[in-house]
Protein backbone atom coordinates (compact mmCIF):
# COMPACT_ATOMS: atom_id res chain seq x y z
CA UNK A 1 0.00 0.00 0.00
CA UNK A 2 2.78 2.38 0.99
CA UNK A 3 6.25 2.05 -0.45
CA UNK A 4 9.03 4.30 0.71
CA UNK A 5 12.28 4.14 -1.25
CA UNK A 6 15.51 5.93 -0.44
CA UNK A 7 13.82 8.66 1.59
CA UNK A 8 16.22 11.34 2.75
CA UNK A 9 15.48 14.30 5.01
CA UNK A 10 18.01 16.95 5.94
CA UNK A 11 17.87 20.01 8.11
CA UNK A 12 20.41 22.43 6.73
CA UNK A 13 23.50 20.30 6.28
CA UNK A 14 22.48 17.65 8.81
CA UNK A 15 20.95 14.48 7.48
CA UNK A 16 18.20 13.25 9.76
CA UNK A 17 17.00 10.45 7.52
CA UNK A 18 19.63 8.82 5.31
CA UNK A 19 17.86 7.10 2.48
CA UNK A 20 15.55 4.64 4.17
CA UNK A 21 13.41 2.06 2.40
CA UNK A 22 10.38 0.35 3.90
CA UNK A 23 6.84 -0.57 3.06
CA UNK A 24 3.43 -1.03 4.65
CA UNK A 25 1.03 -3.63 3.30
CA UNK A 26 -2.69 -3.11 3.20
CA UNK A 27 -4.41 -3.97 6.47
CA UNK A 28 -1.30 -4.31 8.60
CA UNK A 29 0.09 -2.21 11.37
CA UNK A 30 3.77 -1.40 11.05
CA UNK A 31 5.79 0.13 13.86
CA UNK A 32 8.73 2.43 13.31
CA UNK A 33 10.68 2.45 16.54
CA UNK A 34 13.93 3.95 17.68
CA UNK A 35 15.50 6.29 20.17
CA UNK A 36 15.01 10.02 20.38
CA UNK A 37 16.46 11.74 17.34
CA UNK A 38 16.71 8.57 15.28
CA UNK A 39 14.70 10.21 12.51
CA UNK A 40 11.34 8.52 13.07
CA UNK A 41 9.30 11.68 13.32
CA UNK A 42 11.16 13.30 10.45
CA UNK A 43 10.25 10.30 8.34
CA UNK A 44 6.60 10.63 9.25
CA UNK A 45 6.57 14.37 8.74
CA UNK A 46 8.04 13.86 5.29
CA UNK A 47 5.38 11.26 4.49
CA UNK A 48 2.68 13.65 5.69
CA UNK A 49 4.22 16.35 3.44
CA UNK A 50 4.83 18.64 6.39
CA UNK A 51 8.45 18.95 5.36
CA UNK A 52 10.16 18.67 2.02
CA UNK A 53 12.41 15.59 1.84
CA UNK A 54 15.85 15.89 0.25
CA UNK A 55 15.25 12.89 -1.93
CA UNK A 56 13.61 9.53 -2.38
CA UNK A 57 10.18 8.41 -3.37
CA UNK A 58 6.98 7.62 -1.51
CA UNK A 59 4.44 5.64 -3.46
CA UNK A 60 0.96 5.09 -2.15
CA UNK A 61 -1.11 2.63 -4.15
CA UNK A 62 1.25 3.26 -7.03
CA UNK A 63 0.90 7.04 -6.83
CA UNK A 64 3.81 9.32 -6.00
CA UNK A 65 2.92 11.17 -2.79
CA UNK A 66 5.80 13.62 -2.82
CA UNK A 67 4.24 15.59 -5.64
CA UNK A 68 1.03 16.15 -3.65
CA UNK A 69 0.43 19.17 -1.41
CA UNK A 70 -0.07 18.37 2.30
CA UNK A 71 -3.81 18.95 2.21
CA UNK A 72 -4.11 16.61 -0.77
CA UNK A 73 -3.28 13.54 1.33
CA UNK A 74 -6.63 13.47 3.09
CA UNK A 75 -8.59 12.99 -0.09
CA UNK A 76 -6.19 10.18 -1.04
CA UNK A 77 -7.25 8.43 2.15
CA UNK A 78 -4.26 9.18 4.34
CA UNK A 79 -4.79 10.69 7.78
CA UNK A 80 -2.13 12.04 10.10
CA UNK A 81 -2.43 12.10 13.85
CA UNK A 82 0.14 14.77 14.61
CA UNK A 83 2.75 14.54 17.32
CA UNK A 84 1.75 16.21 20.58
CA UNK A 85 -1.94 15.67 19.87
CA UNK A 86 -2.58 18.78 17.78
CA UNK A 87 -6.25 19.19 18.51
CA UNK A 88 -7.94 22.56 18.04
CA UNK A 89 -7.97 23.73 21.67
CA UNK A 90 -10.78 26.27 21.38
CA UNK A 91 -13.18 24.10 19.48
CA UNK A 92 -15.43 21.64 21.22
CA UNK A 93 -14.88 17.90 20.85
CA UNK A 94 -17.66 17.71 18.32
CA UNK A 95 -16.29 20.63 16.32
CA UNK A 96 -12.88 18.98 16.32
CA UNK A 97 -14.32 15.74 15.02
CA UNK A 98 -16.27 17.59 12.36
CA UNK A 99 -13.09 19.38 11.25
CA UNK A 100 -11.69 15.93 10.54
CA UNK A 101 -14.40 15.51 7.93
CA UNK A 102 -13.58 18.89 6.37
CA UNK A 103 -12.59 17.44 3.03
CA UNK A 104 -15.76 15.34 2.77
CA UNK A 105 -19.18 16.54 1.75
CA UNK A 106 -21.39 13.48 2.23
CA UNK A 107 -23.35 14.88 5.15
CA UNK A 108 -25.35 11.81 6.05
CA UNK A 109 -22.27 9.58 6.04
CA UNK A 110 -20.38 12.10 8.17
CA UNK A 111 -23.10 12.00 10.83
CA UNK A 112 -23.00 8.18 10.77
CA UNK A 113 -19.23 8.16 11.14
CA UNK A 114 -19.51 10.68 13.96
CA UNK A 115 -21.72 8.28 15.86
CA UNK A 116 -19.34 5.45 15.07
CA UNK A 117 -16.29 7.37 16.30
CA UNK A 118 -18.08 8.52 19.45
CA UNK A 119 -18.97 4.87 19.98
CA UNK A 120 -15.25 4.11 20.08
CA UNK A 121 -14.63 6.85 22.59
CA UNK A 122 -17.35 7.05 25.24
CA UNK A 123 -15.18 9.59 27.07
CA UNK A 124 -15.43 11.97 24.15
CA UNK A 125 -19.15 11.49 23.93
CA UNK A 126 -19.48 12.62 27.55
CA UNK A 127 -17.41 15.68 26.76
CA UNK A 128 -18.84 16.40 23.33
CA UNK A 129 -19.46 20.10 24.04
CA UNK A 130 -16.33 20.68 26.08
CA UNK A 131 -13.43 22.70 24.66
CA UNK A 132 -10.70 20.36 23.47
CA UNK A 133 -8.06 22.42 25.27
CA UNK A 134 -9.63 21.57 28.62
CA UNK A 135 -9.42 17.82 28.07
CA UNK A 136 -6.73 15.68 29.67
CA UNK A 137 -3.76 14.66 27.54
CA UNK A 138 -5.14 11.20 26.96
CA UNK A 139 -8.54 12.50 25.97
CA UNK A 140 -6.90 14.90 23.55
CA UNK A 141 -4.99 12.02 22.00
CA UNK A 142 -8.23 10.11 21.63
CA UNK A 143 -9.78 13.15 20.03
CA UNK A 144 -6.88 13.47 17.60
CA UNK A 145 -7.30 9.83 16.58
CA UNK A 146 -11.05 10.29 16.35
CA UNK A 147 -10.59 13.34 14.18
CA UNK A 148 -8.29 11.41 11.86
CA UNK A 149 -10.90 8.65 11.63
CA UNK A 150 -13.50 11.21 10.59
CA UNK A 151 -11.72 11.70 7.28
CA UNK A 152 -12.45 8.04 6.56
CA UNK A 153 -8.83 7.17 5.86
CA UNK A 154 -7.40 3.94 4.52
CA UNK A 155 -3.96 4.60 5.97
CA UNK A 156 -3.36 6.25 9.29
CA UNK A 157 -0.04 7.82 10.24
CA UNK A 158 0.28 7.88 14.01
CA UNK A 159 3.03 10.07 15.43
CA UNK A 160 4.07 9.18 19.00
CA UNK A 161 0.61 8.58 20.43
CA UNK A 162 2.02 7.73 23.86
CA UNK A 163 4.05 10.89 24.24
CA UNK A 164 3.57 12.67 27.54
CA UNK A 165 0.77 10.44 28.76
CA UNK A 166 0.33 8.61 32.04
CA UNK A 167 0.98 4.85 31.72
CA UNK A 168 -2.67 3.99 32.29
CA UNK A 169 -3.69 6.39 29.52
CA UNK A 170 -1.06 4.92 27.21
CA UNK A 171 -2.66 1.52 27.72
CA UNK A 172 -6.05 2.95 26.84
CA UNK A 173 -4.77 4.68 23.71
CA UNK A 174 -3.14 1.51 22.49
CA UNK A 175 -6.37 -0.39 23.07
CA UNK A 176 -8.04 2.12 20.81
CA UNK A 177 -5.29 1.78 18.21
CA UNK A 178 -5.73 -1.98 18.32
CA UNK A 179 -9.49 -1.65 17.84
CA UNK A 180 -9.05 0.70 14.91
CA UNK A 181 -6.57 -1.72 13.35
CA UNK A 182 -8.93 -4.65 13.88
CA UNK A 183 -11.49 -2.83 11.76
CA UNK A 184 -9.13 -3.11 8.84
CA UNK A 185 -7.23 0.16 9.04
CA UNK A 186 -3.67 0.20 7.77
CA UNK A 187 -1.50 1.95 10.31
CA UNK A 188 2.04 3.26 10.33
CA UNK A 189 2.93 3.81 13.96
CA UNK A 190 5.92 5.87 14.98
CA UNK A 191 6.63 5.28 18.62
CA UNK A 192 9.34 5.61 21.22
CA UNK A 193 7.70 3.11 23.49
CA UNK A 194 9.13 0.15 21.57
CA UNK A 195 7.61 -2.57 23.71
CA UNK A 196 4.05 -1.36 23.31
CA UNK A 197 4.50 -0.59 19.64
CA UNK A 198 5.87 -4.04 18.89
CA UNK A 199 3.10 -5.67 20.90
CA UNK A 200 0.33 -4.14 18.82
CA UNK A 201 1.99 -4.23 15.38
CA UNK A 202 2.67 -7.03 12.95
CA UNK A 203 6.00 -5.83 11.65
CA UNK A 204 8.56 -3.40 12.91
CA UNK A 205 11.46 -1.32 11.66
CA UNK A 206 14.14 -0.12 14.01
CA UNK A 207 15.68 3.23 13.18
CA UNK A 208 19.06 4.40 14.37
CA UNK A 209 20.77 7.67 13.37
CA UNK A 210 18.60 8.10 10.33
CA UNK A 211 18.91 4.56 9.04
CA UNK A 212 16.86 1.41 9.37
CA UNK A 213 19.09 -1.10 11.10
CA UNK A 214 16.79 -4.02 11.84
CA UNK A 215 13.50 -5.16 10.45
CA UNK A 216 11.41 -8.20 11.17
CA UNK A 217 8.07 -9.38 12.41
CA UNK A 218 7.24 -7.60 15.60
CA UNK A 219 7.12 -10.69 17.79
CA UNK A 220 10.59 -11.69 16.56
CA UNK A 221 11.90 -8.23 17.27
CA UNK A 222 10.43 -8.48 20.73
CA UNK A 223 12.41 -11.67 21.23
CA UNK A 224 15.61 -10.37 19.61
CA UNK A 225 18.22 -9.99 22.38
CA UNK A 226 19.87 -7.02 20.67
CA UNK A 227 16.59 -5.14 20.32
CA UNK A 228 15.66 -6.07 23.86
CA UNK A 229 18.91 -4.69 25.15
CA UNK A 230 18.77 -1.47 23.17
CA UNK A 231 15.11 -0.55 23.27
CA UNK A 232 13.31 -2.63 25.83
CA UNK A 233 15.60 -1.80 28.69
CA UNK A 234 16.94 -5.27 29.38
Amino acid sequence: MLEVTGLRVSYGGIQAVRGITFHVNEGEMVALIGANGAGKSSTLRALARLLEPAGGSVRYRGKELLSLPPHGLVSEGIALVPEGRGVFPRMSCLENLRMGAYARNDKAAIERDLEHVLGHFPRLKERAQQMAGTLSGGEQQMLAIGRALMSKPKLMLLDEPSMGLAPIMVQKIFEVVRTVASEGMTILLVEQNAKLALEVSQRGYVMESGEITVTDESRKLLADPKVRAAYLGE
Binding site: L50, H71, P82, R90, M91, M99, Y102, R147
Partner: protein, 358 residues
Amino acid sequence: MNDQVKKALPWQRHWLGVLLIAAVLVAVPFIAALGGQAWVRIANFAILYIFLALGLNIVVGYAGLLDLGYVAFYAVGAYVYALLASPHFGLHLPFWVILPLGAAIACMFGMLLGAPTLKLRGDYLAIVTLGFGEIIRIFLNNLNAPINVTNGAQGITLIDPIRIGDFSFAETSVIFGVELSGPQKYYFLLVALAILVIMVNVRLQDSRIGRAWQAIREDEVAAKACGINTRNIKLLAFAMGASFGGIAGGVFSAMQGFVSPESFSLMESITILAMVVLGGMGHIPGVILGAILLTALPEVLRYGIEPLQDAIFGRSIVDPESLRMLIFGLAMVLVMRFRPAGLWPSSQRRRELAESEK
Protein backbone atom coordinates in the same frame (compact mmCIF):
# COMPACT_ATOMS: atom_id res chain seq x y z
CA MET B 1 -34.05 21.58 8.93
CA ASN B 2 -32.86 22.60 12.33
CA ASP B 3 -30.31 24.91 10.73
CA GLN B 4 -32.96 26.70 8.73
CA VAL B 5 -35.00 27.41 11.83
CA LYS B 6 -31.95 28.79 13.56
CA LYS B 7 -31.08 31.04 10.63
CA ALA B 8 -34.57 32.47 10.30
CA LEU B 9 -35.09 33.09 13.97
CA PRO B 10 -32.77 35.98 14.82
CA TRP B 11 -34.52 38.25 12.33
CA GLN B 12 -37.95 37.26 13.45
CA ARG B 13 -37.07 37.49 17.10
CA HIS B 14 -35.32 40.81 16.74
CA TRP B 15 -37.49 42.50 14.14
CA LEU B 16 -38.15 45.32 16.55
CA GLY B 17 -34.44 45.82 17.05
CA VAL B 18 -33.79 45.73 13.32
CA LEU B 19 -36.49 48.33 12.78
CA LEU B 20 -35.06 50.50 15.52
CA ILE B 21 -31.54 50.30 14.09
CA ALA B 22 -32.90 51.17 10.64
CA ALA B 23 -34.75 54.18 12.07
CA VAL B 24 -31.61 55.39 13.87
CA LEU B 25 -29.52 54.90 10.74
CA VAL B 26 -31.93 57.00 8.71
CA ALA B 27 -32.19 59.68 11.38
CA VAL B 28 -28.45 60.11 12.00
CA PRO B 29 -27.56 62.29 8.97
CA PHE B 30 -30.50 64.61 9.62
CA ILE B 31 -29.80 64.98 13.31
CA ALA B 32 -26.09 65.45 12.63
CA ALA B 33 -26.89 68.10 10.01
CA LEU B 34 -28.47 70.22 12.75
CA GLY B 35 -24.97 70.77 14.08
CA GLY B 36 -23.61 71.51 10.60
CA GLN B 37 -22.45 69.40 7.67
CA ALA B 38 -19.17 68.77 9.48
CA TRP B 39 -21.00 66.40 11.78
CA VAL B 40 -22.46 64.51 8.86
CA ARG B 41 -18.92 64.10 7.55
CA ILE B 42 -17.86 62.74 10.92
CA ALA B 43 -20.69 60.21 10.78
CA ASN B 44 -19.52 59.30 7.28
CA PHE B 45 -16.02 58.67 8.51
CA ALA B 46 -17.35 56.55 11.35
CA ILE B 47 -19.08 54.34 8.82
CA LEU B 48 -16.09 54.29 6.50
CA TYR B 49 -14.03 53.09 9.43
CA ILE B 50 -16.62 50.44 10.27
CA PHE B 51 -16.18 49.25 6.72
CA LEU B 52 -12.39 49.25 7.00
CA ALA B 53 -12.35 47.66 10.41
CA LEU B 54 -14.64 44.85 9.29
CA GLY B 55 -12.41 44.31 6.26
CA LEU B 56 -9.41 44.02 8.55
CA ASN B 57 -11.45 41.83 10.89
CA ILE B 58 -11.45 39.14 8.20
CA VAL B 59 -7.65 39.07 8.20
CA VAL B 60 -6.96 39.63 11.90
CA GLY B 61 -10.11 38.44 13.64
CA TYR B 62 -11.03 35.43 11.55
CA ALA B 63 -7.79 34.18 10.06
CA GLY B 64 -5.65 35.38 12.98
CA LEU B 65 -3.06 37.02 10.75
CA LEU B 66 -1.72 40.16 12.40
CA ASP B 67 -1.67 42.75 9.62
CA LEU B 68 -0.11 46.12 10.45
CA GLY B 69 -0.09 47.38 6.89
CA TYR B 70 -3.76 47.30 6.13
CA VAL B 71 -3.81 50.96 5.19
CA ALA B 72 -1.76 50.08 2.10
CA PHE B 73 -4.82 48.54 0.46
CA TYR B 74 -6.91 51.53 1.45
CA ALA B 75 -4.26 53.70 -0.22
CA VAL B 76 -4.21 51.55 -3.34
CA GLY B 77 -7.99 51.84 -3.69
CA ALA B 78 -7.88 55.59 -3.06
CA TYR B 79 -5.16 56.20 -5.64
CA VAL B 80 -6.79 53.96 -8.25
CA TYR B 81 -9.88 56.11 -7.93
CA ALA B 82 -7.93 59.35 -7.84
CA LEU B 83 -5.86 58.56 -10.93
CA LEU B 84 -8.78 57.34 -13.01
CA ALA B 85 -11.23 60.09 -12.11
CA SER B 86 -9.38 63.37 -11.92
CA PRO B 87 -7.75 65.94 -14.18
CA HIS B 88 -4.34 64.50 -13.22
CA PHE B 89 -4.37 62.12 -16.19
CA GLY B 90 -7.47 63.69 -17.67
CA LEU B 91 -9.35 60.44 -17.09
CA HIS B 92 -12.92 60.52 -15.80
CA LEU B 93 -14.10 56.94 -15.65
CA PRO B 94 -17.40 56.26 -13.89
CA PHE B 95 -17.31 55.01 -10.31
CA TRP B 96 -18.88 51.65 -11.14
CA VAL B 97 -15.82 50.88 -13.22
CA ILE B 98 -13.25 52.24 -10.79
CA LEU B 99 -14.53 50.89 -7.49
CA PRO B 100 -14.47 47.24 -8.64
CA LEU B 101 -11.17 47.86 -10.38
CA GLY B 102 -9.77 49.40 -7.20
CA ALA B 103 -10.99 46.39 -5.24
CA ALA B 104 -9.39 44.04 -7.77
CA ILE B 105 -6.05 45.86 -7.75
CA ALA B 106 -6.05 46.04 -3.94
CA CYS B 107 -6.89 42.32 -3.92
CA MET B 108 -3.87 41.70 -6.15
CA PHE B 109 -1.68 43.66 -3.74
CA GLY B 110 -3.18 41.62 -0.93
CA MET B 111 -2.00 38.42 -2.54
CA LEU B 112 1.33 40.05 -3.32
CA LEU B 113 1.75 40.64 0.40
CA GLY B 114 0.21 37.31 1.38
CA ALA B 115 2.23 35.02 -0.85
CA PRO B 116 5.71 35.66 0.56
CA THR B 117 4.47 35.81 4.16
CA LEU B 118 2.58 32.52 4.23
CA LYS B 119 5.03 30.90 6.59
CA LEU B 120 5.21 33.83 8.98
CA ARG B 121 3.13 34.16 12.09
CA GLY B 122 2.51 36.65 14.87
CA ASP B 123 5.21 39.24 15.41
CA TYR B 124 7.15 38.33 12.29
CA LEU B 125 4.12 38.73 10.08
CA ALA B 126 3.30 42.02 11.81
CA ILE B 127 6.75 43.42 10.99
CA VAL B 128 6.60 42.40 7.33
CA THR B 129 3.09 43.81 6.85
CA LEU B 130 4.15 47.00 8.61
CA GLY B 131 7.03 47.31 6.16
CA PHE B 132 4.71 46.65 3.27
CA GLY B 133 2.39 49.44 4.36
CA GLU B 134 5.31 51.84 4.56
CA ILE B 135 6.66 50.78 1.15
CA ILE B 136 3.34 51.61 -0.48
CA ARG B 137 3.19 54.99 1.21
CA ILE B 138 6.78 55.83 0.26
CA PHE B 139 6.09 54.81 -3.32
CA LEU B 140 3.08 57.11 -3.43
CA ASN B 141 5.25 59.88 -2.05
CA ASN B 142 7.99 59.45 -4.61
CA LEU B 143 6.33 58.26 -7.79
CA ASN B 144 6.31 61.76 -9.21
CA ALA B 145 9.59 61.30 -11.06
CA PRO B 146 10.78 60.39 -13.64
CA ILE B 147 7.16 60.05 -14.72
CA ASN B 148 4.65 61.86 -12.60
CA VAL B 149 2.23 59.12 -11.59
CA THR B 150 1.09 60.01 -8.09
CA ASN B 151 2.04 63.69 -7.96
CA GLY B 152 4.17 62.97 -4.88
CA ALA B 153 3.48 64.60 -1.56
CA GLN B 154 1.16 67.20 -3.07
CA GLY B 155 -1.34 64.49 -3.74
CA ILE B 156 -4.10 64.50 -6.30
CA THR B 157 -6.82 67.12 -6.24
CA LEU B 158 -10.15 67.74 -7.95
CA ILE B 159 -11.13 64.09 -7.85
CA ASP B 160 -14.57 63.42 -9.32
CA PRO B 161 -17.34 62.73 -6.86
CA ILE B 162 -19.41 59.60 -7.33
CA ARG B 163 -21.87 60.33 -10.10
CA ILE B 164 -24.75 58.32 -11.50
CA GLY B 165 -25.77 59.96 -14.74
CA ASP B 166 -26.46 63.59 -13.83
CA PHE B 167 -26.96 62.71 -10.19
CA SER B 168 -23.83 63.82 -8.37
CA PHE B 169 -23.06 62.89 -4.80
CA ALA B 170 -21.26 66.19 -4.31
CA GLU B 171 -24.22 68.52 -4.68
CA THR B 172 -27.36 69.10 -2.74
CA SER B 173 -30.44 67.69 -4.39
CA VAL B 174 -34.04 66.99 -3.55
CA ILE B 175 -35.17 63.38 -3.54
CA PHE B 176 -38.83 62.54 -2.83
CA GLY B 177 -39.31 65.99 -1.40
CA VAL B 178 -36.38 65.61 1.02
CA GLU B 179 -33.41 67.87 0.62
CA LEU B 180 -30.17 65.88 0.79
CA SER B 181 -26.74 67.47 0.99
CA GLY B 182 -23.68 65.85 -0.57
CA PRO B 183 -22.35 64.36 2.67
CA GLN B 184 -25.81 63.05 3.50
CA LYS B 185 -25.93 61.23 0.19
CA TYR B 186 -22.51 59.72 0.82
CA TYR B 187 -23.80 58.70 4.21
CA PHE B 188 -26.48 56.51 2.69
CA LEU B 189 -24.04 55.08 0.17
CA LEU B 190 -21.64 54.24 2.98
CA VAL B 191 -24.39 52.65 5.05
CA ALA B 192 -25.26 50.44 2.08
CA LEU B 193 -21.61 49.44 1.70
CA ALA B 194 -21.31 48.84 5.43
CA ILE B 195 -24.34 46.55 5.36
CA LEU B 196 -22.68 44.66 2.51
CA VAL B 197 -19.46 44.13 4.46
CA ILE B 198 -21.41 43.17 7.58
CA MET B 199 -23.30 40.56 5.60
CA VAL B 200 -20.09 39.18 4.14
CA ASN B 201 -18.62 39.01 7.65
CA VAL B 202 -21.69 37.25 9.03
CA ARG B 203 -21.78 34.72 6.22
CA LEU B 204 -18.08 34.01 6.55
CA GLN B 205 -18.24 33.46 10.26
CA ASP B 206 -20.13 30.17 10.18
CA SER B 207 -19.06 29.07 6.74
CA ARG B 208 -16.69 26.34 5.72
CA ILE B 209 -14.08 29.00 5.05
CA GLY B 210 -14.72 30.53 8.46
CA ARG B 211 -14.12 27.20 10.14
CA ALA B 212 -10.96 26.67 8.12
CA TRP B 213 -9.68 30.07 9.29
CA GLN B 214 -10.42 29.16 12.88
CA ALA B 215 -8.59 25.87 12.45
CA ILE B 216 -5.53 27.61 11.00
CA ARG B 217 -5.63 30.17 13.81
CA GLU B 218 -5.52 27.38 16.38
CA ASP B 219 -3.16 24.80 14.90
CA GLU B 220 -1.81 25.02 11.41
CA VAL B 221 -0.36 21.52 11.25
CA ALA B 222 -3.61 20.00 12.44
CA ALA B 223 -5.47 22.12 9.91
CA LYS B 224 -3.30 20.69 7.14
CA ALA B 225 -3.89 17.21 8.50
CA CYS B 226 -7.62 17.83 8.18
CA GLY B 227 -7.18 18.48 4.49
CA ILE B 228 -7.37 22.26 4.61
CA ASN B 229 -5.42 24.01 1.90
CA THR B 230 -3.82 26.38 4.36
CA ARG B 231 -1.98 28.33 1.68
CA ASN B 232 -5.05 29.22 -0.35
CA ILE B 233 -7.24 29.83 2.67
CA LYS B 234 -4.73 32.27 4.13
CA LEU B 235 -4.31 34.01 0.80
CA LEU B 236 -8.07 34.27 0.58
CA ALA B 237 -8.16 36.11 3.90
CA PHE B 238 -5.55 38.60 2.67
CA ALA B 239 -7.30 39.00 -0.66
CA MET B 240 -10.74 39.57 0.82
CA GLY B 241 -9.52 41.98 3.46
CA ALA B 242 -7.54 43.89 0.85
CA SER B 243 -10.52 44.12 -1.53
CA PHE B 244 -12.63 45.76 1.14
CA GLY B 245 -9.76 48.12 1.89
CA GLY B 246 -9.65 48.99 -1.81
CA ILE B 247 -13.35 49.78 -1.98
CA ALA B 248 -13.12 51.93 1.15
CA GLY B 249 -10.20 53.79 -0.39
CA GLY B 250 -12.15 54.53 -3.56
CA VAL B 251 -15.09 55.93 -1.64
CA PHE B 252 -12.72 57.96 0.53
CA SER B 253 -11.16 59.47 -2.59
CA ALA B 254 -14.50 60.38 -4.10
CA MET B 255 -15.83 61.79 -0.87
CA GLN B 256 -12.79 63.93 -0.07
CA GLY B 257 -11.98 64.99 -3.62
CA PHE B 258 -8.33 64.94 -2.59
CA VAL B 259 -5.79 62.28 -1.66
CA SER B 260 -2.19 62.52 -0.53
CA PRO B 261 0.20 59.97 0.93
CA GLU B 262 -0.05 61.43 4.39
CA SER B 263 -3.58 60.06 4.77
CA PHE B 264 -2.10 56.57 4.68
CA SER B 265 0.43 56.62 7.46
CA LEU B 266 1.27 53.78 9.80
CA MET B 267 -0.85 55.55 12.41
CA GLU B 268 -3.89 54.92 10.26
CA SER B 269 -3.17 51.18 10.12
CA ILE B 270 -2.75 51.13 13.86
CA THR B 271 -6.00 53.03 14.39
CA ILE B 272 -7.94 50.53 12.29
CA LEU B 273 -6.30 47.64 14.08
CA ALA B 274 -7.09 49.29 17.40
CA MET B 275 -10.76 49.48 16.40
CA VAL B 276 -10.78 45.75 15.78
CA VAL B 277 -8.89 44.88 18.95
CA LEU B 278 -10.61 47.34 21.29
CA GLY B 279 -14.05 46.43 20.06
CA GLY B 280 -13.56 42.68 20.15
CA MET B 281 -11.60 40.75 17.57
CA GLY B 282 -13.68 38.53 15.36
CA HIS B 283 -16.97 39.80 16.76
CA ILE B 284 -18.92 41.96 14.33
CA PRO B 285 -20.89 44.16 16.80
CA GLY B 286 -17.70 44.65 18.81
CA VAL B 287 -15.72 45.81 15.79
CA ILE B 288 -18.51 48.22 14.83
CA LEU B 289 -18.51 49.62 18.35
CA GLY B 290 -14.73 49.99 18.26
CA ALA B 291 -14.85 51.84 14.96
CA ILE B 292 -17.54 54.24 16.14
CA LEU B 293 -15.81 54.96 19.44
CA LEU B 294 -12.40 55.58 17.95
CA THR B 295 -13.77 57.83 15.21
CA ALA B 296 -15.97 59.78 17.58
CA LEU B 297 -13.37 60.20 20.32
CA PRO B 298 -11.02 62.60 18.51
CA GLU B 299 -13.93 64.66 17.23
CA VAL B 300 -15.47 64.94 20.66
CA LEU B 301 -12.09 66.05 21.92
CA ARG B 302 -11.68 68.57 19.15
CA TYR B 303 -15.07 70.12 19.71
CA GLY B 304 -15.26 69.57 23.44
CA ILE B 305 -11.81 70.07 24.94
CA GLU B 306 -10.91 73.41 23.44
CA PRO B 307 -14.07 75.23 24.59
CA LEU B 308 -13.72 73.47 27.91
CA GLN B 309 -10.16 74.71 28.34
CA ASP B 310 -11.18 78.18 27.31
CA ALA B 311 -13.94 78.14 29.88
CA ILE B 312 -11.73 76.92 32.71
CA PHE B 313 -8.36 78.51 32.00
CA GLY B 314 -9.39 81.26 29.67
CA ARG B 315 -7.03 79.87 27.02
CA SER B 316 -6.04 76.64 25.35
CA ILE B 317 -3.28 74.90 27.28
CA VAL B 318 -3.17 71.46 25.72
CA ASP B 319 -3.48 70.95 22.01
CA PRO B 320 -6.41 68.57 21.42
CA GLU B 321 -4.35 66.69 18.83
CA SER B 322 -1.72 65.65 21.38
CA LEU B 323 -4.39 64.97 23.95
CA ARG B 324 -5.96 62.61 21.47
CA MET B 325 -2.95 60.29 21.41
CA LEU B 326 -2.75 60.45 25.19
CA ILE B 327 -6.36 59.39 25.64
CA PHE B 328 -6.08 56.88 22.86
CA GLY B 329 -3.17 55.20 24.60
CA LEU B 330 -4.85 55.34 27.96
CA ALA B 331 -8.00 53.77 26.55
CA MET B 332 -5.90 50.98 25.03
CA VAL B 333 -4.15 50.25 28.31
CA LEU B 334 -7.39 50.26 30.28
CA VAL B 335 -9.24 48.02 27.85
CA MET B 336 -6.37 45.55 27.64
CA ARG B 337 -6.12 45.50 31.42
CA PHE B 338 -9.79 45.10 32.26
CA ARG B 339 -11.35 43.65 29.13
CA PRO B 340 -8.54 41.85 27.31
CA ALA B 341 -10.93 40.30 24.81
CA GLY B 342 -12.22 43.73 23.79
CA LEU B 343 -15.17 45.83 24.86
CA TRP B 344 -17.71 43.53 23.28
CA PRO B 345 -16.08 40.20 22.54
CA SER B 346 -17.61 37.12 21.00
CA SER B 347 -18.26 34.26 23.37
CA GLN B 348 -15.67 32.28 21.43
CA ARG B 349 -12.91 34.81 21.96
CA ARG B 350 -13.81 35.18 25.61
CA ARG B 351 -13.34 31.44 25.95
CA GLU B 352 -10.00 31.59 24.18
CA LEU B 353 -8.64 34.25 26.48
CA ALA B 354 -10.07 32.80 29.65
CA GLU B 355 -8.26 29.62 28.77
CA SER B 356 -4.89 31.10 27.98
CA GLU B 357 -4.94 32.83 31.35
CA LYS B 358 -5.15 29.54 33.18
